[in-house]
Symmetry: C2
Subunit: 259 residues, 2 copies
């Protein structure tokens, strides 16, 4: 499949996805970003052209991947003529319908992963969720997705919204707790390194067993002594005591229901 691709956006997701599409043999024609540094940097990696103005976006590509912040869609897309082009976005949270006013061949191509520019990821392991109102575009997107990922699923906008909420819990909120833990340790001058095996094992356990079966600790045992001692220890540390309480309650209630 010889295909010319344009990337609208040059952030973390755009960087990883475009690099992997290129590695799979697709040609990345151009990268757009309003930040010249980002556009230039990614274009350098991809050996592609770049532009910092929506009006400068090429009309020669076969498919346009929109990997912008959700809030930037309406700034950029009205300024590009994409009417007869295949236009897909990579957002977990936006429905496919946000593209309707910009093209008549639209779709979604959502790789579910947390991307940071400096962390390499094995794209083959990343599930890609594809959607289109047109069976032809859907098949086309599935074919592209299968070149970069071993796990391609068709999913509609309604369900993708919940998938995205689940991902926020399993990734962003989880990472926030790593951060809270790091802060607590820092105050006590204990190196964060000591938590790394625990963090990794906690993630590895649920690769093999259901999270609710993997649960351990004071909340699932409803050990009130420990819970109230912990809450007391962190009562003046940001809103952490409040978080501690509400999550312990949530754990306990969930596991009571299971009994």
């Amino acid at each position: 499949m010889s295909l010319n691709i344009c990337f609208i956006g040059a952030g973390n997701l755009a960087t990883h996805l475009s690099k992997n599409l290129k590695k799979s043999g697709f040609n990345i024609l151009q990268v757009y970003s309003k930040t010249e540094k980002s556009a230039k940097e990614l274009a350098g990696i991809l050996n592609s052209g770049y532009t910092v103005s929506p009006e400068g976006i090429t009309s020669d590509a076969d498919i346009y991947f929109v990997a912008l912040k959700d809030s930037a869609f309406d700034e950029v897309l009205p300024r590009v003529n994409l009417k007869n082009k295949i236009l897909v976005h990579c957002s977990g949270s936006l429905p496919i319908s946000v593209l309707e006013k910009y093209s008549n061949k639209i779709g979604v191509f959502y790789p579910l992963q947390t991307f940071s520019k400096q962390c390499e990821v094995d794209f083959l392991t990343i599930p890609v969720f594809v959607e289109s109102g047109s069976k032809e575009v859907e098949n086309f997107l599935v074919e592209i997705a299968k070149k970069v990922s071993g796990s391609v699923l068709v999913l509609n906008s309604e369900k993708r919204k919940y998938l995205h909420i689940a991902a926020v819990f399993a990734c962003n909120f989880v990472n926030h707790f790593y951060m809270v833990a790091a802060e607590i340790l820092k105050k006590e001058e204990i190196p964060f390194d000591v938590l790394k095996p625990l963090i990794l094992e906690t993630a590895l356990k649920v690769q093999k067993m259901e999270p609710e079966k993997a649960q351990t600790g004071p909340a699932v045992r409803f050990d009130e002594n420990i819970i109230s001692a912990h809450v007391n220890e962190i009562k003046d540390f940001n809103n952490y005591a409040e978080l501690y309480n509400s999550i312990s309650k949530s754990i306990f209630e969930h596991h009571q229901k299971l009994k």
Copy 2:
């Protein structure tokens, strides 16, 4: 070091620790658990004796590891004569002082990990935190710890308490969010499998970079549209909207301070 060990407790932690001590050449003389099945099972693995009564606990061991639920200490320990024995507990949350009334050679031996009986872990990677009022006992415990772990640290009760709180955030609370995510997906009939690469990558990222630098997602960008849409979608799902709100707020506030 030829040493006879008695385990008071036969739960997840006791199982993993005793197996690894045995593997390192120590002799496990006896296991106590009030549940016969647990005592017998672990004794079978260790090729040791067992008892289900505190009064049946041997007086022939050199060192006694207490790996009980915190609340069980005062049920079991008053019924055993350990006055001249080395007595250590394996609890993250209890201070060393809880052992004072039972022996005059006391310590703490706390391996920081989430243990489930059915999941093998590489004990060498697990940090072990050791404490004793006596330098002699401390050195002795460090020596034992170094036989099973590559990471041995001396830490007092006050700091260990905070270490334990950090571990609750980084493991139990994290695992609860895996569970919340699994529940949200289940309702939409999306397999939990699709989240596994994301969960693993989230944990792997903080092995190499600080959690606050690894943060991505709508809360750190303070994308109010997504946040309020998400909250609205899960408003009738347990207390998840409330959790979503308070954690998003905590993420945002933390990252505002960094700017």
